[in-house]
């Protein structure tokens, strides 16, 4: 199977790889997937509480090239967005942007869930009403 140019580009030069301090109140962490399933994504956001804006995003992913590209793209899209805007990211946007084949759609679902998981974690930590709903839970 050949990969799209965009998947290859994100795979070769993944954006925003790393770890944010999860003990900080302004940081939300989403950890989705399972090692037995062959992919685990951890996506973290740092939110400016005054503006509700995501000021930083980092990821680490155990998985195939499409899973890595999906999470890399997600962090790129998240930066600068408000929580509400971030919640509107749909997995099909990722599928379209990366031209993922049908067998790799689950990678985009995982990325959407990781975004929602990170937002949910942030909202829980800060006693904010939870607006993030995960697709697979």
């Amino acid at each position: 199977m050949a990969y799209s140019e965009k998947v290859l580009e994100h795979f070769k030069h993944p954006r925003n790889v790393g770890t944010l301090d999860k003990s900080k109140k302004t940081v939300g962490t989403g950890l989705v997937g399972a090692p037995e399933c062959g992919d685990v994504m951890r996506l973290q956001i740092e939110v400016d509480p005054s503006s509700n804006q995501i000021v930083d995003a980092k990821f680490k992913t155990f998985g195939c090239g499409s899973a890595i590209a999906s999470s890399s793209l997600a962090t790129e899209w998240l930066k600068g967005k408000t929580i509400d805007e971030a919640l509107s990211i749909d997995n099909m946007d990722i599928v379209e942007e990366l031209a993922l084949p049908p067998v790799k759609i689950h990678c985009s679902v995982l990325a959407e869930d990781a975004i929602k998981g990170a937002i949910k974690d942030y909202q829980e930590k800060n006693g904010i009403e939870i607006t993030a709903k995960l697709a697979t839970h």
Binding site: T19, A34, P35, E36, C37, G38, F62, C64, H106
Partner: protein
Amino acid sequence: MDNRLIYLDNNATTPTDPRVVDTMLPYFYQHPGNAASRNHPFGWTAEEAVDYAREQIANLISVESKEIIFTSGATESDNLALKGVFEMYRRKGNHIITLKTEHKAVLDSCGKIEKMGGEVTYLDVNYDGTVDLAKLEAAIKPSTILVSVMWANNETGVIQPMKEIGEICAKHGVLLMSDATQAVGKIPVNPKEVGVHLMAFSAHKMYGPKGVGALFVNRKKPRVKVTAQMDGGGHERGMRSGTLNVPGIVGFGKAAEIAGQEMAQDSERLSKLRDKLQKQLMDRLEEVYVNGNEGHRMPHVTNLSFKHVEGEGLMMTFNQNIAVSSGSACTSASLEPSYVLVALGLGDDLAHSSIRFSLGRFTTDEEIDYAVEALVKGVNHMRELSPIWEMYKEGIDLDSVIWAEH
């Protein structure tokens, strides 16, 4: 960019040896005859060439040339052996025993046999991939007609104790069939010596062309017969109809001859290169595991799991230059990890992290050095990206984490 291409996927297929190609070429245009045309020189030349190749192949595995049935490949040979025996011996019994780690050509043929009214036992294997002989013997019952065990496994390279299996089958008067696709031409294989009555193999795994294979069918003590699965002109002693692939068979014969001459030196050289590859990777990287029995393994194969790295992702770091394969689900259409590795008792996570390296006649020392560097770099890079590697490094017990499985 580095343009080199290193082929370490010889269990998938081998390059056709140039000496084999040279032998085949005259049989496309100069000698175009049909080996079944009995009445003109074109046919005679083709028949002679086929007979000669049959001898070359029979010599390699120490059987009579009449015991070689040509097919389109090992998948067809597996189908013919299993379904052919089931149909031929059905009045004697309907039970077949095989292993969970067999090739799909065997497993799916058995699945079909079950639909045809057969009963199939799929045995678990030991943690090292070998058959449990006691379990095998215990599974034999009065209705058992056939045991099917592959000589060497395609994913792990593990070699089964064929002699011991043959003794058990002889003791109980049960036929023994072996898919020896990965073994013939690479290690000494002598079906008669170990009591194998039917044996499938193919040319393209031993530096011959694709599209041609063989089934060895024992002719004496016992005289084994299989019901043809392809109906037509009654070629190959009525067991496999269809015009013979003369150039392919000529190439198969030449490949067998070369294998007989060069097997010992090839396997000695390749086992050294394989050991070097495995040792360097295990010395330079943490948490690398060998899958399958290292003592009973094909000389050119190693299957390694790089913990907390996903196989397909890892391959993407170097697959512009190096060809290997992985038991990761992401490389299969089914999205399930390798059933062979899972049958060995490996957790799914280690199966997802596996890479199979299969060296070949044309693999060089320098290529192995290059591959080691690329693998070390790739694994380190992927671990930098891996959240579970980070958790492992922090001392978190990954088994205690409640994962959001999907």
